[in-house]
């Protein structure tokens, strides 16, 4: 009811308005004839504009109808696609796997990494303040040198075996087959057997290749007791204990352990042959603990022995490595704290050409190192190392070395390292500054053992 009344009221208002307009319009026309003409022309113009607007509106309506049609067909197509699956890729037949050898995984083509070949260029410039000890000393002065040029080749041989070789050359020692070894890959019960020439599994850093070390040099204590890296010729059996906790035990038999000893032995030619109890034997159990998600501890112990003969020896080693590995790439990226300590009880025998004994001694010596390296911002790491050792056969030969090292890696395969060593002890003190420049060509990895 109210609506009807309000409509009536509105109608009355409109009629009244029209009446007023009709009354006023003739009066206005009478008052000014020229204005009428002007108004007429304005009216005509307005009519033209209105016609144009109507035409435009009609065109727009037609275009809108066409757009609606297109949109509708698009919606129908999208619906059809969604009904078949979110994207054509989902409903399409799966693309063929990359490898012809397997239909269950994408594997690199066989020739991409078979064999994996790499070449390391490891150069340095070093300057020494003073001549130091005979056993760990450095020549006085400044020297550019090719520290190591290493060709590394690795590949599976068949489903049961893989092989690798490391052939290297240096400024000081010429070319050498550093390693050439075979490793089984399919033995049961978590066993692997390694044979040939390789770095025996002594401790942690003794079996690392030079270019993988966190410092410019191998720690002096390892150089003295092991004789450089733990180069050997022999056979090693390694057992991964089948528990959820990581325990690995390695046992080996070798001609000798330590590149220097091996070299001496090989230089002996025929006389290098010895009784079985004069060979070197090794046992190395090691284990690992996740202390937290990012903090972990690795502990190992090694016994290396020569049961009898002129080189009879017992060497014991303990290695402890604490790592903080948050795995992120912020400014701080973690640290490694590594320590090894060795006890060496070894017979040194000197004979003349006809084999008569000249001198025999059996000193007990101990030594080791400890270092911390912290990693920053993807590119940088810095660390400190302390090493204390005595020569296994020497006298007045205590040497302490403190080393500070800084590494910059423009990429994963390229690094510059600056190291300052300060040596003091029973003989002349020495300070040494070394700049090392190392790069890796090709597929370089020494795998799990040198992680």
């Amino acid at each position: 009811m109210r609506t009807t009344e309000s409509k009536r009221a509105s109608l009355r208002l409109v009629l009244a308005g029209c009446a007023i307009a009709l009354f006023l319009a003739p009066a206005a026309a009478r008052s000014a004839p020229s204005e009428v003409e002007e108004l007429r022309s304005q009216l005509d113009a307005t009519r033209e504009e209105l016609a144009t607007t109507k035409q435009t509106l009609t065109q727009t309506q037609q275009e809108l109808a066409a757009t609606r049609g297109t949109l509708q067909s698009l919606v129908e197509r999208v619906d059809a696609i969604q009904a078949a699956g979110p994207l054509p890729a989902v409903s399409a037949a799966p693309p063929p796997p990359v490898s012809a050898g397997s239909s269950t995984a994408r594997i690199l083509p066989v020739n991409a990494d078979n064999p994996a070949i790499s070449f390391v260029v490891d150069t340095e410039v070093a300057t020494d303040h003073h001549r130091s000890f005979g056993s760990i000393g450095f020549p006085t002065g400044t020297d550019f040198s090719l520290r190591n040029a290493e060709l590394f080749i690795s590949a599976p041989i068949d489903p049961f075996l893989r092989g690798y070789a490391s052939i290297n050359g240096t400024s000081d020692e010429g070319f050498d087959v550093e390693e050439a070894a075979l490793i089984t890959t399919a033995l049961p019960w978590g066993l692997t057997v390694k044979g040939g020439r390789f770095f025996a599994d002594f401790g942690r850093l003794p079996h690392w290749h030079d270019e993988a070390l966190p410092f410019v040099d191998r720690p002096p204590s390892i150089e003295r007791f092991i004789g450089g890296e733990s180069g050997s010729e022999g056979v090693e059996v390694s057992w991964l204990v089948p528990t959820d906790h990581f325990i690995e035990i390695t046992a080996g038999a070798y001609d000798a352990v330590g590149s220097e000893y091996l070299e001496e032995l090989n230089d002996d030619g025929f006389f290098g042959r010895r009784n079985v109890d004069e060979l070197s034997y090794l046992v190395h159990p090691h284990t690992y603990f996740d202390l937290t998600d990012s903090l972990n501890l690795e502990v190992g112990g090694t016994w290396l022995g020569v049961p009898a003969g002129d080189s009879e020896r017992n060497t014991w080693g303990v290695d402890v490595t604490l790592r903080h590995q948050p795995g992120t790439t912020g400014v701080y990226q973690g640290f490694v704290w590594g320590t090894e300590w060795l006890w060496n009880d070894q017979r040194f025998t000197e004979r003349d050409d006809d084999g008569s004994l000249i001198d025999r001694m059996r000193p007990s010596r101990s030594g080791g190192y400890s270092y911390v390296e912290a990693f920053f911002a993807r590119r940088y790491s810095a660390g400190l190392r302390y090493d204390r050792s005595k020569a296994p056969d020497g006298e007045r030969d205590l040497a302490n070395t403190v080393s500070a090292f800084f590494t910059w890696k423009p990429s994963e395969f390229h690094r510059l390292r600056l190291q300052l060593d300060d040596v003091w002890g029973d003989q002349q003190d020495n300070q040494r500054l070394t700049l090392q420049w190392t790069a890796f060509i090709g597929s370089h990895s020494h795998g799990f053992a040198q992680r």
Partner: protein
């Protein structure tokens, strides 16, 4: 005679008992479920969604880590040694840690190509497959960009490959795995439709990211990739590269900097500040933003991107 056979029986019991004790020590707690090691949190969650109680999963990488720098921990060697299956995201994403761990694990069943090596990338069509292997281009993945997990539609393909792999290793569970796959796909389909609408404001948005890992996500939601903070994949930024990037961003009016949670936020924030852009922190792996599940992680990434984009347009 009777006493002799009794003592023999006793001895047999002792030996059997000792044998069982040793076996139990070596085997660990008895478990009926399939022991699966997953390389990445994304494939771990999808495997869990599909396999349910039939699988027990250990995940190697954590969501906050850089997938290219995951630490090689010996504890995973033992897990891999005893694993019934290894699930990887694939396309070489795990090159920094899975080959080294597998080499030490002595488990031929989980080596690439073996039935229990489950490759989630199997049905994914790779993008950015390099035409040459040359390290001047950074650390390229020979099989293509491996960060397809950030696109949920690729997640469906990952699920399919994982379900097939689980079925291959454990044929008795085929029915369960197929049902699990169907459930996961239905859930993901629903979310994909939702996200398509939700992510509409991202279409046409120009962005730089820290690493070259946005290609699949960008293709899905129409984000225009303008550059990366890294010089090349795996090569950290140099001052000159940052200057070039700033110039490009200013010229192209780029207002979004995508910072993956595993990388240093400082540089991303500094670049955003100098260009008037906003930073969206996302995660290249599930769990990086605190959401352990694959689906929740995708949604968290989209919301982070939207918050940055809409904050920009509002401001």
């Amino acid at each position: 005679m009777a006493s002799h056979s009794a003592s023999v029986r006793m001895s047999i019991h002792w030996i059997a008992g000792l044998g069982m004790l040793l076996a139990s020590l070596v085997a660990g707690p008895a478990t009926a479920s399939l022991r699966v090691v997953a390389s990445m949190p994304d494939v771990a969650d999808i495997t869990k969604q599909i396999g349910g109680d039939r699988v027990s999963i250990v995940t190697i990488a954590e969501g906050t880590q850089d997938p290219h720098k995951v630490p090689v921990k010996p504890s995973f060697v033992s897990k891999l040694h005893r694993a019934d299956a290894l699930v990887v995201q694939g396309l070489g994403l795990e090159h920094a840690f899975v080959p080294a761990l597998s080499e030490a694990a002595r488990n031929a069943r989980i080596l690439p190509g073996a039935p229990a090596y489950i490759d989630a990338s199997l049905y994914v069509t790779p993008l950015e497959v390099p035409s040459s292997q040359n390290r001047t281009q950074g650390e390229l993945h020979p099989l293509g960009n491996p960060h397809f997990n950030l696109d949920p539609v690729q997640g469906k393909l990952m699920a399919r490959a994982i379900a097939e792999g689980l079925e291959r290793v454990d044929p008795d569970g085929a029915e369960a795995y197929r049902a699990g796959l169907a459930r996961f796909e239905a859930l993901l389909d629903r979310k994909i439709a939702e996200w398509q609408t939700l992510a509409a404001p991202l279409r046409g948005v120009k962005a730089v990211s820290y690493h070259e890992d946005m290609v699949y996500l960008a293709e899905r939601y129409g984000i225009e990739r303008v550059g990366t903070i890294e010089v090349k994949p795996g090569i950290p930024a140099t001052p000159r590269h940052v200057e070039d990037l700033l110039a490009t961003m200013k010229r192209d009016n780029v207002k979004l900097v995508i910072h993956e949670v595993s990388y240093d936020p400082g540089l991303a924030e500094s670049i955003a500040e100098r260009t008037g852009a906003r930073v969206a922190t996302i995660s290249a792996m599930a769990g990086g933003l605190g959401h352990a599940g694959y689906i929740d992680s995708i949604e968290a990434n989209l919301k982070a991107l939207l918050a940055a984009v809409q904050g920009e347009s509002a401001g």
